[in-house]
Symmetry: C2
Subunit: 209 residues, 2 copies
């Protein structure tokens, strides 16, 4: 299948979770585009357009089959073979992410955490063990880790990214406030909490324009 728009991919992830919740709550296997849209604060057209993109279609006039739709979305956003993920930096943010992860995400396995603090090394939360940052290279390779979530302090971000790149990581989700410079074949997604907050502040201030 042709690659899908970035925003559609983001929404597909949310559709899937929302559909799972919907199914658990309502025990109904039918959902209308406007129902799904309302749950996500978006428009029904947007939902239908995304669903068109992924090539799914319902028996018209009776909404979508919830489980089928979950299946189709999963075929697109999940990989065939599970992908192994590591959290690099096991401070508060790293631990928060580990907790978010607990549950059923069969194709994305969080398999290791790393930190420099001896007190954290050896800790195990939700079956995720924390290793010394010194063993980063070794364990990334040994455990076939493809994606890294970077949550180290600012001063360490650059060096960690360097090691990740050298080890052949495929994707980095960067939560540090450091702008990383890595080869273009590695997929880099950056998120900056301070920027988000400053954005909220700006639009709170300028809401009447």
């Amino acid at each position: 299948m042709k690659i899908l728009p970035e925003k559609t991919i983001e929404r597909l992830s949310q559709y899937r979770r929302t559909l799972n919740n919907f199914y658990a709550d309502h025990n109904s296997n039918r959902i209308f585009s406007h129902e799904l849209a309302a749950l996500l604060n978006i428009t029904a057209v947007q939902v239908r357009r995304d669903i068109m993109f992924i090539g799914y279609s319902s028996s018209q006039r009776k909404g979508y089959n919830v489980q089928e739709l979950i299946q189709v979305i999963s075929q697109i956003i999940d990989t065939h073979e599970p992908i192994n993920v590591a959290v690099v930096g096991y401070g508060n943010l790293g631990k928060a992410i580990t907790t978010y992860f607990v549950g059923n995400r069969p194709k994305l396995n969080l398999v290791a955490a790393f930190d420099i603090d001896p007190k954290k090394i050896g800790q195990e939360t939700h079956n995720i063990k924390c290793y010394s940052i010194d063993r980063l290279r070794e364990i990334l390779v040994a455990k076939d880790i493809t994606i890294a979530i970077l949550t180290v302090p600012t001063h360490a971000a650059k060096d960690m990214a360097k090691i990740l790149v050298q080890t052949g990581i495929k994707g980095i989700l960067n939560y540090t406030t450091v702008n990383l410079h890595i080869p273009p074949e590695i997929y880099l997604e950056e998120y900056d909490m301070i920027t988000s907050l400053e954005k909220v502040a700006y639009f709170v201030k300028n809401k009447n324009q």
Copy 2:
């Protein structure tokens, strides 16, 4: 000034931080658009266009004055009066955000944290005190809190949002995976870590298309 594009606001926040770092590191008061762009992994045109939007201009051919540019950006994204912010949910993520906040952000004050866990109530990190969630209404009003960062567990998100809305909050930054339904006059920014990770996984998988 006319309201600026959302993406420009996001970048302005990052320009400012990058410029502050640049000034500290280089002790130079001049920066070219392509230098700033390189630091942020974007194009020089994008930088110049954003700077055009905010109405700043340099003496041509010699780059921008770093401190002036910081000033101009601050005038746009900062408020005149400081804005008070609270973290609702003082688990790992709430604590992580508190830590991120430490430093010089004169116009955005994190003034309180809230949690339901008696063990956390009364804790104080970086001068931020944790209060009982029972006192949320009271303290939001007393401390004139305008923006809330929501980091509570899924099951509590809806109720917390309700209280925030009732108390007249102006903006919410929602890190829970629950889609909130709040009046449109409240600015809502949502961020979903799982979605971000699933997005990275998708584009790692489909990078060659």
